[in-house]
């Protein structure tokens, strides 16, 4: 093989590798980008059921109900709230009135089926997405709420 053709071979191999990587990324992006929604987004934007999303806000007061390992509660941004059902261990600082981020799918019945519930370990911590969502709904109490 002539040097020129060899060099071409390496360039082509490199390009092919890049193309494969780009293809894999695009295919994976399609299914695995998970968008964050506030309860208001879910209610007003009519989020489609069975699409993987994140839902975040505050755990509504007096809404937590435990049945064995399944917990139901409502996530609110004080304008709207969405019912959530989750089976599993709740994080250590899951509390009514605290910020929470859940990931899962909206069921046909409008109940959000969470596969993960995240509440950070720090009592003063507010997930930034939740803080943003609360600011939008006009119920952000500024630094005092932190």
């Amino acid at each position: 093989m002539k040097p020129k053709r060899r060099r071409l071979l390496f360039v082509v191999t490199g390009m092919a590798m890049l193309a494969i990587a780009v293809g894999l990324v695009l295919a994976a992006f399609e299914d695995n980008l998970v968008f964050f929604n506030s309860p208001t987004d879910v209610v007003e934007k009519k989020v489609a059921p069975n699409v993987r999303i994140r839902l975040g806000g505050l755990v509504e007061q007096d809404s937590v109900l435990k049945m064995g390992t399944t917990t139901t509660f409502r996530v609110t941004d004080t304008r709207h709230s969405v019912a959530v059902r989750y089976t599993g261990l709740l994080p250590d600082l899951f509390r009514e009135g605290q910020g929470v981020v859940t990931e899962g799918r909206l069921g046909e019945d409008g109940v959000f089926l969470a596969s993960t519930v995240l509440a950070k370990h720090d009592e003063n911590y507010m997930p930034p997405e939740v803080a943003d969502a609360l600011k939008k709904s006009g119920h952000w109490m500024g630094e005092a709420a932190k």
Partner: protein
């Protein structure tokens, strides 16, 4: 007094770093020997000043001097001594000080031990090292002073995040930084070579040990972090594709590529421009990782800094350092004399493919990590890129690499014979096939991907064994000669085979722990029992318990196998007062068939507790694999050929040649 001395010594270090970064560069290009000669003493002085400063900070932590803001915010008198010390780097300012200290120590090592590096090259390497230090010392002095005082001094500190109060994590950051920062040497060598306009085999021989050392440290650091996540977070996982994890993984991937391409430069005197680019990219990814973790753009246990001005500073530094390096590369790379081209089927051919695959994988991880930040900045939309993305892009790129890493070492340099190499791998292929068949036989309905993973892992381990057997002439020569060859095998070659075997063990661990894991989630009342994976767990109830600086609810589970008591396990949920936080402390019992892992949740309100019980077979193979890789790296480092002083004769010859 001590904090002021520490602070003063950091400021002095900054001044020394400015001198170290400028005088030798001017001196080498204008041929002023006295300016060039500044490099070594400056590097040693900078390291000494920073070591002193770090000792001062450690002292105020150990003595709990709360008049220092940093100590007050991150320490507490009740904290055990180990965590008082690890608290030094458990916060933004202190960890930054550790970062620059390690950077300075690496520079000092080049100054102290690099006697065989041509003086001009050495001075330039030290100077670039100094310039990098200027950026970070600037951040430390102007925005992140660890010695700031509080008046009046508080009586008690706020305490350290309890998740960080753990022996595994105490040593995770130092190793991680040794890795991150170690790549700065490769970066400095690359910049010096670009200024010089020359890269040769000797250059690669000087770069390799530093890169290998950095890679080994980074491997230890990542493995420690993953082990910590497994037993401390209580989620039963060991890798989450969290942006912060990715930040340390990307330099590792790029560093692995660099490690391999530098071999080609050394042996075949080709692939030079690419290797220089890799050296720049690897350290750039280290800097990017530091930015991601430090700028507060992400929230995690690692995100200490929420001060946006620091983020802007680091970003500006990032742009100058990476942009400057790449600009220099663009203008000078063409001058690096291209080496000979080579046949696709040869040792170097497979190494090129290795580099392409590793960098493609790095690219996908980079994209998945940065995309949410990018989208948020552009559209304000919040999005998460989850583990499925990384699994479905990373794994397909790794599979061919893993097949290749066994074939590559079997091929000779220059021109290879694929069928010959494959013939020597018959044993490995057979082993992989048998293991795959056995896997299918033992576990009906196991996913085909898992069988593939097991086969790949075995293939790599078998290939590493075949490589060693080949070198020793097992089956071809007399046993006495085999022993003689074994004794004479270069440690670097043996180290490489061991590190490759480690990758195989790691793959087996990942696949096995995913394929054969058993998980049971149950709300348990006292006296209730549950069956899982051939064990019976009886819950005896939970009671309050008190630890040194926390209160806990401790559950008791008795584990039976065939009606015999094999373990009593006590998972806890802990509540810390300083700072107010709660953590889940999983109970883990290693057994021959795999770990038994129990995490207990909160009370379900009716006297019961939610509990997650796992059996995780082969999970320890993951960290054993990493450990084997580290041992391979260390063995390789101990090779005479890798010692900085080894290429003495060639270096002398190179030094005599006129500089271009």
């Amino acid at each position: 007094m001590i904090p002021e001395l520490g602070h003063f010594s950091v400021i002095l270090a900054l001044v020394v770093a400015i001198v170290q970064g400028t005088f030798p560069l001017v001196g080498t290009s204008r041929r002023v020997p006295s300016w060039t000669a500044v490099a070594q003493p400056a590097a040693l002085a900078q390291a000494a000043l920073l070591a002193f400063s770090f000792a001062c900070l450690t002292y105020v932590y150990v003595t709990s001097d709360f008049s220092v803001l940093n100590v007050w915010q991150n320490s507490h008198t009740e904290k055990p001594l180990l965590y008082k010390i690890s608290g030094v780097w458990g916060n933004h300012e202190g960890s930054l000080l550790l970062w620059v200290l390690i950077l300075a120590l690496f520079g000092a090592a080049v100054a102290g031990f690099g006697r065989n590096i041509p003086p001009v090259l050495r001075a330039r390497v030290i100077a670039v090292q100094g310039l990098v230090a200027v950026g970070f010392l600037g951040l430390l002095v102007f925005m992140s002073n660890p010695f700031e005082r509080v008046v009046p001094a508080p009586l008690e500190g706020n305490g350290l995040n309890p998740l960080l109060q753990d022996p595994g994590l105490a040593f995770h950051p130092p190793f991680l930084y040794l890795g991150y920062v170690g790549f700065s040497i490769a970066f400095s060598f690359a910049i010096a070579a670009l200024i010089d306009g020359r890269v040769d085999a000797a250059w690669a021989r000087w770069v390799r040990p530093w890169t290998l050392a950095a890679w080994t440290f980074l491997t230890i650091g990542i493995a420690l972090g993953s082990w910590w996540a497994y037993y401390e977070l209580g989620w039963g996982g060991w890798w989450f594709w969290d942006p912060v994890e990715n930040a340390s993984f990307m330099p590792w991937l790029a560093g692995t590529a660099l490690l391999h391409s530098a071999i080609v430069v050394e042996r075949r005197d080709t692939l030079k421009a690419w290797t220089v680019l890799l050296a720049i990219l690897t350290f750039s990814l280290s800097l990017l990782g530091t930015f991601i973790v430090r700028s507060g753009v992400l929230n995690s246990v690692h995100a200490f800094a929420t001060d946006p001005s620091r983020g802007v500073f680091i970003l500006a530094f990032l742009v100058i350092a990476i942009g400057g390096a790449l600009t220099l590369y663009a203008s000078r790379a063409a001058k690096l004399a291209p080496g000979g081209l080579f046949a696709p089927i040869s040792r170097e051919g497979t190494l090129v493919l290795n580099n392409l695959l590793l960098m493609a994988a790095t690219g996908t991880v980079l994209l998945g990590t940065m995309y949410p930040l990018f989208l948020d900045a552009v559209t304000g939309e919040k999005v998460t890129v989850g583990p499925p993305f990384f699994n479905s892009t990373f794994a397909p790129l790794m599979a061919p690499l893993v097949i290749l890493m066994t074939i590559g070492p079997m091929l000779p340099w220059k021109r290879g014979d694929l069928s010959g190499a494959l013939a020597r791998l018959k044993f490995a292929a057979l082993l992989a096939a048998i293991t795959a068949a056995l896997t299918l036989y033992v576990t009906a309905g196991i996913p085909p991907l898992a069988v593939g993973g097991i086969a790949l892992g075995t293939w790599v381990v078998g290939g590493a064994l075949a490589d060693v057997a080949e070198r020793w002439g097992v089956g071809r020569v007399q046993w006495r000669d085999v022993v003689a060859r074994a004794v004479n095998t270069p440690r670097a070659a043996l180290g490489a085979a061991i590190a490759h075997a480690g990758v195989g063990v790691l793959i087996l661990g990942i696949t096995g722990s995913l394929a054969w894991e058993t998980e049971r989630l149950e709300a348990m009342k006292p006296g209730q029992s549950v069956e899982f994976a051939g064990y019976t767990a009886v819950f005896d109830g939970a009671r309050p318990a008190r630890g040194p600086n926390y209160d806990a609810i401790r559950g008791t589970f008795r584990i039976y196998q065939d009606n015999a008591l094999i373990a009593v396990m006590e998972p806890e949920t802990r509540r810390f007062a300083n700072p107010p936080m709660a953590t889940t402390e999983a109970a883990i019992r290693p057994r021959f068939g795999g770990d038994i892992y129990i995490a207990m949740g909160e009370s379900t309100g009716d006297g019961g507790f939610a509990a997650r019980l796992y059996r995780k077979p082969m999970i320890h193979w993951i960290w054993s694999g990493a450990l084997i890789m580290v041992l391979g790296g260390l063995l390789s480092l101990s090779d005479r050929r890798h010692r900085v002083g080894a290429p003495a004769r060639r270096a002398a010859a190179a030094a005599l040649a006129p500089a271009e």
